[in-house]
């Protein structure tokens, strides 16, 4: 995604000034022709893979039958949307989604930043690289593996954590089946798998800070913490805000796989989120129109959130993503 949005930004467009004549515009276009040619694949990509598929959203207003196709299916207006909003579990599912999202923002989001700052303070290239590799490796494990590892660790039937609890005289805790433990388990797994990976961008932008700034501050008697507070953090503020806005866009989109693997009959009341609901109600049952309607709803919420946050960030004098 990010690479694809890059070309328009990499090519520094001159500010759209008023051209005296169209011939001057043509000249400018011609002069940069190579850059425009390079733009073509990107534009095509978006048209073919992002805009044309939107045609399929039509089916959320239909009772879509595969064998009748989009043109032949019956139009039903907002039926599927109203079904979603009147579903008895809808509020609960939405709340679960929002809570997990809130935990992602409040608990998970700052961790890569802190980790990056800490890694940056490590002296000695070898250690720095070693620890960085160590923390980002879990990213390459699939959720199935992450969840299986935690299963083996916390199961009541000989899981090491429960064995330890029993050894020290505490009673065993049913982590896997109790609704109260679902959220902590979820966020811990997210942190374990993603935090190290998330540091990469921050570390890169920290590396770009002019060392002269640190030298100067040291001359003025600033300690390590002051340097972090007055130089490093302000320098990466732009990156933090950009990533924050992008994160906000995925508000209702927590990733199906991870939650689905943790979900079971005992914790459904806190663990069922929109994505897992789409899977059971939509795909397993073949209700294409209904699941498309839910997906549509999710995208609109995401769009509104990104636009709002972007606007706010511009208001307070930051750059925003567009």
């Amino acid at each position: 995604m990010q690479e694809v949005t890059a070309p328009p930004r990499v090519v520094p467009e001159p500010q759209p000034k008023k051209y005296k004549s169209s011939s001057e515009l043509k000249k400018r276009l011609w002069r940069n022709k190579l850059l425009y040619v390079m733009l073509i694949p990107g534009v095509l990509y978006f048209i073919i893979f992002k805009y044309l598929p939107m045609y399929g959203l039509i089916i959320s207003f239909q009772d879509y039958k595969p064998y009748q196709g989009i043109t032949g299916s019956e139009w039903v207006g907002m039926k599927h949307f109203s079904r979603l909003f009147t579903e008895p579990d809808f509020l609960n599912i939405l709340a679960n989604t929002l809570i997990l999202f809130g935990m992602n923002i409040l608990i998970y989001f700052p961790i890569p930043i802190i980790l990056a700052l800490m890694l940056n303070e490590l002296r000695g290239t070898f250690f720095k690289r070693f620890f960085q590799t160590l923390v980002y490796l879990p990213h390459f494990m699939s959720w199935v593996i992450v969840v299986s590892i935690s299963f083996v660790m916390v199961t009541m039937d000989g899981g090491i954590i429960n064995e330890l609890l029993a050894y020290f005289g505490f009673s065993k805790i049913n982590f896997l089946l109790s609704p109260g433990w679902f959220r902590p388990m979820y966020i811990l797994q997210v942190i374990w798998r993603e935090a190290g990976w998330g540091t990469i961008i921050y570390l890169a932008s920290i590396a770009a800070i002019d060392p002269g700034l640190y030298e100067a501050s040291r001359m003025d008697g600033a300690g390590r913490l002051r340097q972090v507070w007055h130089i490093t953090l302000p320098a990466i503020r732009g990156v933090i805000i950009t990533l924050f806005i992008l994160k906000i866009g995925s508000v209702l989109d927590l990733g199906f796989e991870h939650v689905y693997l943790l979900l079971n009959s005992m914790n459904r009341e806190v663990a069922e989120i929109i994505d897992t609901y789409v899977y059971t109600a939509g795909l397993r049952q073949g209700q294409f129109s209904y699941s498309t309607a839910i997906g549509f709803f999710k995208s609109i919420v995401g769009l509104i959130m990104v636009m709002t946050v972007n606007k706010v960030s511009k208001k307070i004098g930051e750059e925003g993503v567009y």
Binding site: V11, M38, Y67, F151, T155, L177, N264, S265
Partner: protein, 519 residues
């Protein structure tokens, strides 16, 4: 200057990577479209040279799920083509994503002449399209084909849609489920195979408390179960308790199983097992792999509900960890009223459909059915199920003994094995030669089970609400069942959930099934 050249480099890199990505896609598409091209190519050669063949081979395209990682080579296919005078194009798609492929091919009208579904659930989802006339009805033609005509009428009946037959079925034994247990443990503790549910409970208890592996530690459990009410232990034990198979008559009306008192008794049974610590505590979150691992590592003594024929693979893994372990199978467990009962599947695990979009007319349909008629001869069904004699299997005492080279079978035969129509009683293929005593016992029990079999009365009935919302609604009951077994719901709470199920569409399902039932 340097900045500019860097920009240039970056954008050209991006362009390149994108071009190559597009190129990759194109290649794939080209490969995909090449297939039909290639087959039409052979078609023309066949027609220009009619003297070589007495009759032109029938071209058939077949789409089916693949349960192995790689598409099998043409070894078996070539043999089948030779015998049946056909030109077959197999389109294998991974079973994991088969539904997706099925739905999208269907939506774009590109299903091939022969379309295998994935299981009973996908069949249920196709019913609407079948009623809509998208597939050929084959019922009236069946009598023209002597071998196809041997298919069991009661199972064909279960696959009918609105009383008409559209499909051929892939047969499976009606009731394979039962117990696989540690006979060495039972012998050591002086226990016999449980004759009723009380003895079953006692066995689980003894396996947990009496240190059956003799290591002086209390590190074993009785039953290992997983997060699956139907193919796990629950439904099997529930049928021993006398719970009907999904639906049964109650006060002259069809009612779902969870409204019967036996269902509650079964939940109580598992609740007691769990509370006593005689089964794995996390069974509501245990996957099949984890459950199997627990059994094969020698930690648990009873594996209930799966196919008893799985004893071969369980045994193989278990004796790696516990070399002197002995397994046996058992299924005749009487309920509290002293009666045996065993739930049955509708006798098939998958079906084949013939889309009208690909099969032009009845003449073509008959040609394809002729191929399936061939497939139901012992010659072809052995070829597809067992492979090539001498290479993939040998015949010992009139039974097939598969080669020890499991990888070879997996690679070359497995893909076709899952497409064989009928069962050995109808297509005459070899039965398998079993050596493990527990497996031989299992085969006897599979036959014995059927004598006490309980069928699902709704198997051939239709309910529009069930088709559209049934799976989603069933979740309410499954959740409530687990919560009851974990003690979070009492009987009143469970019944409230049943009411919830009714109010959200269940009542309509009851109504629709009853309407179809009395018809």
């Amino acid at each position: 200057m340097t900045k500019k050249s860097f920009t240039l480099l970056l954008s050209s890199l991006l362009t390149l990577s994108m071009l190559s990505a597009c190129g990759g896609n194109n290649n794939k598409e080209a490969a995909a479209t090449k297939d039909p091209g290639a087959s039409t190519g052979t078609n023309t050669t066949a027609t220009t040279d009619p003297a070589a063949e007495p009759e032109k081979p029938t071209e058939i395209k077949i789409m089916l799920p693949l349960n192995t990682t790689d598409t099998p080579p043409d070894t078996i296919k070539t043999e089948v083509e030779k015998v049946t005078n056909t030109k077959l194009t197999y389109q294998f798609f991974p079973a994991d994503t088969y539904e997706e492929k099925l739905n999208s091919s269907f939506a774009t009208g590109s299903l091939p002449q022969v379309t295998y579904l994935k299981n009973q659930t996908t069949f249920l989802q196709m019913k609407e399209a079948i009623k809509d006339g998208q597939f050929w009805e084959i019922g009236p033609l069946l009598s023209e084909f002597p071998n196809l005509n041997k298919l069991k009428p009661e199972i064909l009946g279960n696959t009918k849609v609105d009383g008409k037959l559209y499909t051929l079925y892939i047969g499976r034994p009606l009731a394979r489920q039962g117990i696989i247990y540690r006979k060495d443990w039972a012998d050591k503790l002086g226990l016999k195979a449980p004759a009723n549910t009380e003895e079953l409970f006692a066995m689980a208890k003894a396996f947990t408390e009496q240190d059956p592996d003799g290591n002086g530690k209390k590190d074993t459990i009785g039953v290992v179960d997983r997060n699956e009410l139907v193919y796990g232990a629950f439904k099997t034990v529930s049928s021993w308790f006398g719970t009907p198979n999904n639906w049964a008559e109650k006060d002259g009306q069809l009612a779902p199983e969870f409204t019967f008192s036996q269902y509650i008794d079964t939940m109580d049974f598992f609740k007691k097992l769990r509370e006593g610590g005689y089964m794995n505590q996390d069974f509501a979150a245990t996957s099949k792999t984890d459950a199997v691992n627990m059994f094969t590592s020698g930690k648990a003594g009873l594996y209930i509900g799966g196919s008893m024929q799985d004893i071969d693979s369980l045994n193989k893994d278990l004796i790696k960890n516990v070399p002197d372990a002995v397994l046996d199978t058992h299924s005749m467990v009487a309920g509290p009223d002293g009666k045996f009962a065993q739930w049955m599947i509708p006798g098939y695990n998958n079906v084949v459909l013939f889309p009208k979009s690909a099969v032009k007319d009845e003449a073509e349909l008959k040609k394809i059915l002729k191929f399936f008629d061939y497939m139901m001869t012992p010659e072809v069904s052995n070829l597809m199920y067992w492979g090539i004699e001498g290479t993939h299997y040998t015949v010992v005492d009139g039974k097939a003994k598969a080669t020890d080279n499991k990888e070879l079978i997996e690679r070359e035969v497995k893909g076709f094995k899952d497409s064989v129509i009928g069962e050995y009683e109808t297509n005459g293929m070899y039965q398998s030669l079993n050596v493990l005593p527990g497996r031989i016992h299992a085969e006897e029990l599979v036959l014995e089970n059927v004598k006490y079999g309980v069928a699902d009365p709704t198997a051939a009935l239709d309910s529009a609400t069930y088709t559209s919302k049934g799976v989603e609604l069933q979740q309410i009951i499954a959740d409530a069942t687990y919560k009851y077994m974990y003690g979070q719901l009492d009987k009143a709470g469970f019944e409230k959930e049943v009411e919830n199920w009714k109010s959200r569409g269940g009542a309509k399902i009851i109504e629709e099934y009853n309407a179809a039932y009395t018809k």
